[in-house]
Amino acid sequence: MSDPLLKVDNLHVEFKTGSIITRAVNGVTFELNEQENIGIVGESGSGKSVTATSILQLIPSPPAKVANGAIYFKGKNLLKLSSKEMRKIRGNEISMIFQDPSTSLNPVFTVGNQLIETIRAHKKVSKKQAKQKAISLLDLVGIPAPDKRIDMYPHEFSGGMRQRVMIAIALACDPEVLIADEPTTALDVTVQAQILNLMKELQERLGMSIIMITHDLGVVWETCDKLLVMYAGRVVESASVKDLYQQPLHPYTWGLLDSQISEGQNSAEPLASIPGSPPDLSYEIKGCPFVERCPYAQDICYQETPQLNETIQGHAVACHFQTSEHQLERKEREYSDGDAT
């Protein structure tokens, strides 16, 4: 088998603020193959964005620091590249759609300016050609009247339109890997379907690979091949999307699936949710990071941190009681304490 296109290997990232060290990413490992689409889901604060931005080394450092690990792209460790070499890869071979469009679009420049800049930073084209390309990109992501819109400022766009501009910028240079951090959260479902289709099409046409961070499981079922479930800076489960849907194994994943609204449920019945909150990552975590909220926890869970192990072919989980020899029995609506804070 050939090497994966991208391999994140035992990545550790920490933030140092004053004397406090927050261990945001704690040993994340995964592989992305050509033309593959990997989804990442997980609780807010579980390190999804930090993992993604580390790949492109776009985390502010300090306070952030990669404490351990490697990120291989086409066999080269990105963490060892000079900033000049990294700039060449960024936006060109690997590009990213950021979670928060308001922080990544500059309010003082027109949308067109920002697109043209990006195109000209990586491709030797005239201003005029770049502008043409920019207009066609805006059109591609479904911005109406792109020739007029191109001269407008970000604040004159609706939330969803700004997000589409971000997508246009990320696609400007036909990247090989697209990292999309919540790319469709601000979009309505018809535009979302259109954008997801566009990504699929580019994936087939250009052989693009995608890392898709989302909290919408519908988007995962729709577009991803593999799924990573993250919790407290770790991958706690990873499998093909179909396996994960049919046989989820980690108790956190169960809680996540139970929290979804299903058809026929109405507000007379509170939604299930996982009570409590994730651990404070500025303390050393002893045992399983999910232990405080896990209905299946036993003594060993407070003592030892479970490692991510393949239990079934291609399906890995980090739980003491989910192994090839022993399996937990999933309880019906275990997470029903809707009001817990």
């Binding site: 889901v41 609780e43 807010s44 604060g45 928060d100 911005i143 109406p144 009247a145 007029k148 819109r149 001269d151 407008m152 004159e156 766009f157 609706s158 939330g159 969803g160 339109m161 997000q163 589409r164 959260t185 601000a186 309505d188 479902v189 018809t190 535009v191 979302q192 379907a193 259109q194 289709n197 909290h215 919408d216 499981l217 519908g218 988007v219 995962v220 079922w221 729709e222 999307v241 179909k242 849907y245 996540l256 929290s259 979804q260 609204i261 299903s262 058809e263 449920q265 109405n266 507000s267 509170p270 939604l271 299930a272 949710s273 996982i274 909150s277 809707g338 009001d339 817990a340 804070t341």
Partner: protein, 323 residues
């Protein structure tokens, strides 16, 4: 019959487009909201759905008078908020509050949580320090946060916690109408469920009326009694969720419902893919705004704007074919 709390008539907002030639007056405008009518009944939740950029947030800002309309009226508790004397409007506006989409951007990072929640009281000069502090503690408790959090800064909280702070802030002045603009879209599923449960509980406890803007049709189905479907500055269909879901009349509504993401990786979905791009509110199409993309358009649609017609008492739509 339920009592009408809010009545919106012929509401319009046209934003002038800055002219690239200096000192020349702009001749074009973005018709963000272009003649919208609806009622909101006491105690209900009205969902607003529609394509991104169709004017939902602008409409919310018009209802709560953060911006002034180009035309139309907003009648709240039987009084028109447009042209109301400033002092009176200030009083009325206390009863209409907003919760915004982005729990990160909507809280001033320089203020402590307690100051943020007390801010509306300070602005409206209600009570003294002690009573304000008491109210803050009470509100933190209501939204399920620890009283001690009053002394912390917003950046110390997660998205879900920040959205609780936003909700507490919206409740400070005992509103009757709360407009939630995508209140849970930025939250992960499990936290989203907690915030939705909280909003439901508050509605019961304080007899609140909600206008609930969301892209997530599953959330809308769960939360809302009625929904209004918007397209390019206008409402194209309005009625109870069940009725519209079971029996959508407008072709845009049909396309919208068909685009709900899959519920499993095995589901095969029939999608109505809309052709063409979203038309521009700078230059909306003639006749029915939807005609260029409508899969079933007929000749008259190009020239004549369809009127709102009542299908059932609980269901209205504007499409020539629904006649």
């Amino acid at each position: 019959m339920m009592e009408t709390l809010l009545e919106v008539n012929g509401l319009k907002k046209h934003f002038p487009v800055s002219n690239p030639i200096p000192f020349k007056k702009s001749t074009q405008s973005v018709k963000a909201v272009d003649g919208v009518n609806f009622d909101v009944y006491q105690g209900e939740t009205l969902g607003i759905v529609g394509e991104s950029g169709c004017g939902k947030s602008t409409m919310a800002r018009l209802v709560n008078q953060l911006i002034k309309p180009t035309d139309g009226s907003v009648i709240f508790k039987k009084q028109n908020l447009i042209d109301m004397p400033a002092e009176k409007l200030r009083q009325m506006r206390q009863k209409i509050q907003m919760v915004f989409q982005d729990p990160y951007a909507s809280l001033d990072p320089r203020l402590k949580v307690g100051e943020l929640i007390a801010e509306p009281l300070v602005i409206h000069q209600i009570g003294d320090r002690t009573s304000q502090k008491q109210r803050v503690e009470e509100l933190l408790e209501i939204v399920g946060l620890n009283k001690r959090y009053a002394d912390r800064y917003p950046h110390e909280f997660s998205g879900g916690q920040r959205q609780r702070i936003n909700i507490a802030r919206a409740l400070t002045l005992n509103p009757e109408l709360v407009i939630c603009d995508e209140p849970v879209s930025a939250l992960d599923v499990s936290v989203q469920a907690q915030v939705i449960n909280l909003l439901n509980k508050l509605q019961q406890d304080f007899k609140l009326t909600y206008i609930f803007i969301s892209h997530d049709l599953n959330v809308v189905r769960y939360m809302c009694d009625r929904i209004a479907v918007m397209y390019l500055g206008r409402i194209v269909e309005i009625g109870t969720f069940e009725e519209i879901y079971a029996n959508p009349q407008h072709p845009y509504t049909k396309a919208l419902f068909s685009a709900i993401p899959k519920e499993s990786p095995f589901e095969e979905k029939e999608r109505i893919i809309l052709k063409g791009t979203v038309p521009s509110p700078l230059n909306p199409p003639s006749g029915c705004h939807f005609h260029e993309r409508c899969p079933v358009a007929i000749d008259i649609c190009k020239t004549k704007e369809p009127k709102m017609i009542t299908k059932e008492k609980i269901h209205q739509t504007s499409c020539h074919l629904a006649d």
